[in-house]
Subunit: 152 residues, 2 copies
DNA sequence: CTTGAAAAGAACTGCCT
DNA sequence: AGGCAGTTCTTTTCAAG
């Protein structure tokens, strides 16, 4: 665990709101000088609290209007099965996220496709061909909202 | 739909890999001059293909070691129920993502907590108190891997 | 599309309180 | 820890090919 003070938390909150803002803009918001704000941001990066900045793409604008969540249950659950499955699923370009979970299903996949017909192709030709795959459940994404989540 | 050429796609691929790199670094990678690379990135932002850059936080380092996915089924499904539910769920600080989905459940929530005991508190005091909430299913996140997904 | 130049701003360093 | 001053690098815009 890492000790963060109130200023660090405010920096994380501000950067969660807008990750592109500069150290001087951050400093203005928090009443700090540019170097002070910058040093804190660097420290948060060095501590591993800030892992990086990820690109936020508009998938619809790229022609991928369909997002589907798949719950996948493995039929065979040895060590080999898990490794084979994870390697094979990582090779499917339409798969955006692979979550290994504990519960009714073993994996949750976030899959994007151009349309429902394209999704059917991905499901039949790619997902169902994965090694060791058992039961599969699908949920189509209607809308999504993200929040910063708890900081401290 | 927006027309993107091969160079635009390569830019999106590069930025998906590392969203922090400069226009000059991008240009070096793709054999473009710095202004040319910068103009393309600005165009992709203006077209809305690049929505922004989001902060990638290390939740474990912040003391939130538990991530749980909740499938939520509403008991009552009128227009009011949906709006009431979405408003109330957005006010829970531990909720990171709210996905409105089509399928066995109506919503999928990504919830973070300090530990399992903390998660139980969130579940009992917050999630179960949500207006109109019916059946709830939980999946604990073991590990997660993200991929850039399809670009073109 | 390119290069080159120039101005503004952001990042980074050392020193000082 | 924070501030100040200065250097280096990137961003952003321009002119011209």
């Amino acid at each position: 665990m890492i000790e963060l003070d109130t200023t660090d938390r405010m920096i994380l909150r501000e950067l969660s709101r807008d990750a592109t803002q500069s150290a001087s803009a951050l400093g203005r918001q928090l009443g700090l000088s540019q170097p002070a704000a910058w040093r804190r941001v660097r420290r948060l990066r060095d501590l591993g609290v800030i892992k990086g900045r990820r690109l936020d793409l508009n998938r619809e604008a790229l022609g991928f209007g369909v997002t589907v969540f798949l719950g996948v249950k493995l039929a065979t659950k040895g060590r080999m099965s898990i490794e084979d499955f994870e390697r094979a699923v990582a090779a499917i370009p339409e798969v955006q996220t692979v979550e290994h979970i504990l519960g009714l299903f073993d994996y949750r996949l976030r899959v994007v496709a151009r349309d429902i017909a394209d999704f059917e192709r991905v499901l039949r030709r790619r997902i169902m061909m994965l090694p060791g795959v058992g039961e599969v459940e699908a949920n189509v994404l209607l809308s999504e909202e993200r929040f910063p989540g708890p900081i401290g």
